[in-house]
Amino acid sequence: MNAYAISPLARGLETFGAWALGLLWLLPLAYACWTAFHPSAYSTNFTLTAPLTLANFVKAWQAAPFARYFVNTVILVTMVLAAQLVLVTLAAYAFARFDFPGRNVAFALVLVQLMVMPDVLIVENYRTMTQLGIKDTILSIGLPYMASAFGIFLLRQTFKTVPRELDEAARVEGCSPLQTLWKVYVPLAKPTYIAYALVSISYHWNNFLWPLIITNSVESRPVTVGLQVFSATDQGIDWSIISAATLMTTGPLLIAFLLFQRQFVQSFIRAGIR
């Protein structure tokens, strides 16, 4: 919309509005940072000369097994993503390039998961995990999410754009369907894989309700549930320490986001437009 000559007043007002909103949006985070990096005496006292400290982080780290929680989350996220990539690739390939009876029905059944997500089937999935005897394990947190309808859909779209000629050429060269998938389709879908991976990682790093329900021990709790257990049990409501713990748990994701900002945004766009 650069064709329009905007009056300086309107432009100024808009810039002001955009910045006011941006600062407002950062305010809660800035506040958490302030509290976390200052002694608790200064947590609501905004003196610019207040001494900076890392003591809150040290205290939070020592007060709860955060190291273990981080390990659990990393295992969870890696496991879910690895399983998703394999399952989703195979299923998407079948839907994109094979003609078989029941394909449309099967695809519709896959799409059901876009609405009926594991997030809302907590009661029944808890029952299933109990019956399988894997309650309170990292596997039980990830299992319901591994066959991702969203991933299948996304990748099927991408695979469909691969020219048939490439596929046929590979077959003529003597490639089996799986080799064709690996040598032709997967390399061409790399941007989609990256997009999907980023969305999946941030989703499972942040997931909370299901892990809260299904886990019950330090050995399996991801960092989100760990944070909740930590701040809900009476810490003498020391907000400095809670803020430090909060920043700590989001830290890796936030840093990754700041480093790969462009990719993140592009990925969410790519994943969203389906």
Binding site: T15, P28, L29, A32, F98, L209, W239, G272
Partner: protein, 291 residues
């Protein structure tokens, strides 16, 4: 490959995903319906068929109705505002604005943070007598108010958190749509003498309609799916003023351990989500062609 071999091959490729989907999406949805007709097994009494009794209890349960009404108000309060803000954000950062990159980052950052962490931050923000909000209202000469502690302001206070968290996410989709829009449209409109407001109303906004519908469906799903902040900030209180449907299911199912009543409640949620799916099918899929 022969036809039959190709069929077998395709189904083998599908098998792993299909098994897990059946086990953790289709089976639980159906089992949930069945379990909603049973009584909750207790130590001495196994579950038995009780027909619609759970649903009768549900109709008579004032907390269920409150959770449902809360959820509808929550959806009504958060969705239009977050979509409106998202659109404004996208229009702004799509323009040549000083500090555009920074603003885009500021708007989007809440989206990548876990809701649970964000809720902790906002909990502190709202703390009576101590939090930042109180400090601001005090400085402006207003009295103290327990935002999360009084039934009239608790739900709106949670809505603010949701709007703050989701607007940046929706902005991304608008931004993508705006960037794919041809600049010639604006040039042509400017030559024809259309005002900016007119151009937005008659050209930009209608062209953004598919995006708006897409965002709308996502926002509705999220309004029924995401209750992490309630666990942290209010636990459904005070007096169930902030209990949303999924949170109530969680409470019934995992704090009172009444799994069959929780199953009946889940059915309500599934019906609501089904309605969203039908809406999406009739209004969204018709306009966009994937094939």
């Amino acid at each position: 490959m022969t036809r039959t071999r190709e069929w077998v091959y395709a189904w083998l490729l599908l098998l792993p995903a299909a098994t897990l989907l059946a086990l953790f999406t289709h089976y639980p949805a159906i089992a949930n319906l069945w379990h909603s007709f049973l009584s909750t097994p207790k130590a001495a009494r196994p579950a038995k068929f009780i027909g619609l009794e759970n649903y009768h209890a549900l109709v008579d349960d004032p907390i269920f109705w409150q959770a449902l009404t809360n959820n509808l108000w929550y959806a009504l309060g958060t969705i239009p505002l977050s979509i409106g803000i998202a659109l404004a954000m996208a229009l702004w950062v799509n323009r040549r604005l000083p500090g555009r990159g920074f603003l885009r980052l500021a708007y989007f950052t809440p989206t990548v943070l876990p809701m649970i962490a964000v809720a902790n931050i906002w909990l502190f923000f709202y703390t009576p007598g101590y939090g930042l909000l109180e400090q601001i209202t005090h400085a402006l000469g207003f009295g103290s108010h327990n935002w999360l502690g009084s039934p009239s302001t608790a739900l709106p206070a949670l809505m603010v958190v949701t709007i703050w968290k989701e607007s940046g996410f929706f902005m991304i989709f608008y931004l993508a749509a705006l960037q794919s829009m041809s600049p010639h449209l604006a040039e042509a409109a400017a030559i024809e003498g259309a005002s900016r407001a007119y151009f937005f109303r008659r050209v930009t906004f209608p062209l953004l309609m598919p995006t708006t519908l897409f965002v709308l469906v996502n926002a509705v799903i999220n309004a029924f799916r995401l209750v992490d902040h309630i666990v942290v900030m209010t636990r459904g209180g005070p007096d169930n003023a902030t209990s949303l449907l999924l949170y109530y299911i969680y409470e019934i199912g995992f704090r009172f351990w009444d799994s069959s009543y929780a199953a009946a409640l889940t059915m309500v949620l599934l019906v609501l989500l089904g309605a969203v799916a039908l809406f999406q099918f009739f209004f969204l899929e018709r306009r966009t062609h994937y094939q």
